[in-house]
């Protein structure tokens, strides 16, 4: 490992035990986030983006379980830490923001209290915590921070609530921010504000971001690198320009061509996302792939580095 890498995920497997059978949500995820990099994790509903994020922080509750793999953060395997140790990583070294900002806040506590509390749990004296909280509210661009400190979550709009969440996530200057669809529930004009804010603040503290989104437009604007997920695997990983201009995996190509664009016939991927209780054999994309061959239904493709920093898991490039 060189010291340019902040987070390395190796063969991460997470299963959920349901009454229907075992849902193989993550099936050997490989992913690397470098220092000061913004890595986009894109994919459709049920591809395992959020489960990956939650598995990194070990926030998977029963019936879910992390089966195997390694999550190496700054040289330590997070999956091997004690409960006490992982708690000190959460929020301080790795923090997370969620999709629905108004649900992520406690409705009966003031905005300021919640922010201050998140600082105090890191053993910062109360007075100092309050100052830090007020300063942070101002830095995330909330109007009138003193009044905002005393207001309740229901008084905030979606955009303002997301600013508060960002304040809570970044106040301890984490090294990695996991952003799980932070702007999906916001309007485009507000989304533009929030995207700009996240980029600026993260640059200030020199953190990396793992940015989860299903919106390829947002990914293209924000990220340096893109990992495309399908049914619990990263099927393609590379530099943003590589992924958008020379995508190799048939799924990535299909996804990019499915975006409505004037003067181009809409490309459609046939079939549906498979059920992860009983996924297809071999490459899980083969029933929907237009270039599938015999081998695809039999052998699971390995992750191959076709070019420096460009990984593809597809038999066409093996």
């Amino acid at each position: 490992m060189t010291n340019k890498e902040l987070l390395i995920i190796k063969n991460l497997v997470t299963h959920f035990y349901t009454y229907r059978g075992t849902v193989k949500a993550l099936d050997g995820v490989n992913l690397t986030v470098g220092k000061k990099e913004i890595v986009g994790l894109v994919g459709e509903t049920g591809s395992g983006k959020s489960v990956t994020a939650l598995s990194i922080l070990r926030l998977i509750d029963p019936p879910g379980k992390i089966i195997s793999g390694e999550v190496i953060f700054e040289g330590r395997d997070l999956l091997k830490l004690s409960e006490e140790e992982i708690r000190m990583v959460r929020g301080k070294e790795i923090s997370m923001i969620f999709q629905e900002p108004t649900l992520a806040l406690n409705p009966v506590l003031t905005v300021g209290f919640q922010l201050q509390e998140s600082i105090e749990t890191r053993n910062v004296p109360r007075k100092e915590a309050e100052e830090l909280a007020l300063d942070m509210l101002e830095r995330v661009g909330l109007p009138d921070p003193k009044r905002m400190f005393k207001s309740y979550p229901h008084e905030l709009s979606g955009g303002m609530a997301q600013r508060e969440i960002i304040a809570m996530a970044l106040v301890m200057k984490p090294k990695l921010l996991i952003a799980d669809e932070p702007t999906s529930s916001l309007d485009v004009t507000v989304q533009a504000q929030i995207l700009g804010l996240i980029e600026k603040l993260v640059e200030d503290i020199g953190a990396s971001i793992l940015y989860i989104t299903h919106d390829l437009g947002v990914a293209a604007e924000v990220c340096n690198k893109i990992a495309v997920m399908y049914t619990g695997n990263v099927v393609e990983f590379g530099d943003i320009h590589t992924i958008f201009e020379e995508p190799l995996h048939p799924y990535t190509q299909g996804l990019l061509n499915a975006i409505p664009k004037l003067g181009r016939d809409l490309y459609t991927i046939r079939g549906e996302v498979p059920d992860l209780v009983d996924p297809p054999s071999g490459c899980k994309f083969h029933p929907r792939c237009s270039q599938a061959r015999d081998i695809c239904s039999k052998v699971k493709p390995q992750n191959v580095e076709v070019k420096k920093g460009h990984f593809v898991a597809c038999h066409l490039f093996n």
């Binding site: 004009t189 299903h214 293209a220």
Partner: protein, 338 residues
């Protein structure tokens, strides 16, 4: 344009929702969801309606079908006024006007089979034998890309894209002429969205339908529509044929809206105009031009006088005091370069 060419038309349409409060539930004020809108939708046209949350686009779609009663104004359908029709008459009209909702998970009855869901409009409007209903249901299911085996299943057995197909089948079974599509693909993933959009396009050509296509997704509207209207706080701020609107954008709101949309192309690093604040509450909209609180070009006049929607090019309507200059002025404002 004569009224015969128009499928639907609204004149100075308004919908105010009263807000009540206090012990006697007095009316404290009104949410002006739609505040004076006029436009027409031509036959066989896909008319796009875009805007952010709370701009009144959904209310407008429902008022046109009289699913919500308008506060003021007139609605015409195929040249005849439908605002004053009674319940029985409007029910007859509804055979030719249908709606498809955003969320295919909540718009289908969970305990009814697909055959019953899709066949129900027929039962309401006609007296048909069961075998005839079954035949029509099957025919419609085929048209939307489903098959006979799906008839005897329940909604929970289907994926989001399939459910939306079922909702489309239910709307089409009466052979309507006009469809209101209220965010039909917003709850779907891109690859599924692509297939539903394609289906909607094919159906429109096959049955020569007219669509009012409501969405907040610009790439969808650009792909689908013939003409587009942009709404902001209960008003239309700009309306033009698609090519004209996307090439010659004039209203400062439309310009900022377009610039805020992320483009799935990393080579494109555009000037992003980031608007201040959020959409004001329609309960108490700003005086003058409604956009004046967020507009980068606001002048004193904008805070007092409300601009009219006026035609400044062929079929291109804009409601802005600085419509001739806005484009140039917007290009001059400094933006933080990314």
């Amino acid at each position: 344009m004569s009224s015969e060419e128009l499928m639907a038309k609204v004149e100075n349409l308004k919908k105010y929702f009263p807000v009540r409060g206090g012990i006697f539930q007095r009316v404290l004020g009104y949410v002006k969801a739609i505040d004076g809108i006029s436009f027409g939708i031509r036959r066989n046209e896909i008319f796009g309606l875009v805007g952010e949350t709370g701009c009144g686009k959904t209310t407008l779609g429902r008022v046109i079908l009289r699913l919500i009663e308008p506060t003021a104004g007139k609605i015409y359908f195929e040249g005849s006024e439908i605002t004053s029709l009674n319940r029985k008459q409007i029910r007859k009209m509804r055979q030719s006007m249908q709606i498809i909702f955003q969320d295919p998970y909540s718009s289908l009855h969970p305990r009814k089979m697909i055959k019953e869901i899709v066949g129900e409009p027929l039962k309401i409007h006609f007296f048909l034998k069961d075998s005839e209903i079954k035949e029509r249901v099957l025919e419609t299911l085929y048209a939307v890309g489903l098959s006979e085996e799906h008839m005897y299943r329940y909604p929970h057995e289907f994926s989001g894209g399939q459910r939306q197909r079922i909702a489309i089948a239910r709307a089409l079974i009466l052979k309507p002429k006009f469809l209101v599509l209220d965010e039909p693909t917003s709850a779907l993933d891109v690859s599924v969205q692509a297939r539903v959009l394609k289906l909607l396009q094919d159906l429109q050509r096959e049955f020569s339908l007219t669509y009012l296509f409501i969405t907040h997704n610009m790439s969808v509207i650009e792909y689908m529509s013939d003409r587009v209207a942009v709404m902001y706080l209960g008003k239309i701020v700009e309306m033009a044929p698609r090519e004209e609107l996307f090439v010659n954008t004039l209203h400062p709101y439309t310009i900022s809206l377009f610039s805020a949309i992320p483009v799935p192309d990393p080579e494109v690093r555009r000037r992003r105009i980031v608007l201040k604040g959020e959409v004001p509450s329609p309960f108490n909209p700003p005086a003058g031009c409604r956009f004046n609180t967020r507009c980068p070009l606001t002048q004193p006049m904008c805070k007092e006088v409300e601009p009219e929607l006026s035609e400044i090019g062929e079929n291109h309507f804009v409601a802005c005091h600085y419509q001739e200059k806005s484009k140039v002025m917007m290009e001059e404002i400094p933006v933080s370069e990314r």
